[in-house]
């Protein structure tokens, strides 16, 4: 007999065994065979197939981006990088570059 406290976290072994026996369904092999036979008839959902490819594609794209960035940092000199940022700010090619320039010149 188990503790009847509602806070008891241990399964009631005797009751559990009796319940399993009471609820045991017959013809296990036949049931499993029936399910197995239907596995081939029901293919997997196309969105799940796509989902599998999606994550692989996302990983590949992320790797490509990282590699491209790493390659650029290896080939560009620091002067080139600085010149690139400075010219973009001065030319006002980036949104908000005027605000950034004003802030820099006013020492904020």
């Amino acid at each position: 007999m188990s503790d009847m406290s509602p806070f008891n976290a241990s399964p009631d072994v005797e009751l559990g065994s009796a319940l399993r026996e009471a609820l045991e369904a017959p013809h296990h092999e036949a049931f499993v065979g029936r399910v197995r036979a239907r596995l081939g008839q029901r293919g997997r959902a196309w969105e799940d197939e796509l989902a599998g490819w999606f994550w692989q594609g996302l990983v590949a794209a992320s790797l490509a981006t990282v590699l491209a960035g790493w390659g650029w940092t290896q080939t560009a000199t620091p002067q080139q990088a600085e010149a690139s940022v400075a010219s973009e700010l001065l030319n006002g090619e980036r949104p908000g570059s005027e605000i950034l320039l004003v802030a820099m010149t006013e020492g904020q």
């Binding site: 007999m1 026996e21 499993v32 029936r34």
Partner: protein, 184 residues
């Protein structure tokens, strides 16, 4: 079969290996059928729901997270399939006689007693609300932790504890009375 084996089988199944998934079906069919019966209270409906649950799991195997245990993921799908079937189909009132043949034992007196206990437990289960039935069967018969049952049923863990307590109390009465009869 260990959890690691199951995860490996699930991984093979995710790559389209139907035999690997079949091995998982073989392993978990008894539990899936018991849990489905607990909801539907009819063996034929329970088998239909368990089968639907396995086929849905097969279709969605790519969504299984191998960092987590396979069994609760599968049982969640079976529970949903059984509840869905119950909503769609009026539960048959005719009593399935299949389980009678499953109770055959060497000792005829014991066989009658076991059958009686099984029938009485099923009858007692039928008087409980579905949530209590599921909580006590999943906790005491299937060995799921209360936190996992709570997650599967979408209820607080405290509610599972309370349901197990009340469900046990009703079923324990039946178990006790049958044991008294056996002792006489």
């Amino acid at each position: 079969m260990t959890g690691v084996d199951e995860i490996a089988l699930a991984g093979r199944a995710a790559n389209g290996d139907a035999d690997a998934f079949g091995a998982l079906v073989d392993r978990h069919a008894p539990m899936a059928r018991r849990v489905a019966y607990t909801i539907l209270e009819d063996q034929q409906d329970a088998d239909d729901a368990a089968q639907e649950g396995f086929l849905s799991a097969w279709q969605a195997i790519n969504r299984y997270d191998p960092r987590r245990a396979f069994r609760p993921w599968l049982m969640q799908i079976v529970v949903n399939a059984a509840r869905d079937l119950r909503r769609r189909r009026r539960v048959r009132t005719t009593e399935s006689l299949d389980f009678i043949s499953a109770a055959s034992k060497d000792d005829p007196a014991r066989e009658a007693g076991a059958l009686d206990l099984g029938e009485r437990l099923k009858a007692a289960l039928a008087t409980l609300p579905e949530r209590q039935r599921l909580a006590v069967v999943m906790f005491d018969a299937e060995g799921y932790p209360q936190a996992e049952i709570a997650a599967m049923l979408g209820i607080p863990e405290g509610t599972v504890k309370s349901d197990v307590f009340h469900g046990r109390r009703a079923l324990r009465k039946v178990l006790g009375s049958v044991k008294e009869e056996w002792d006489e």
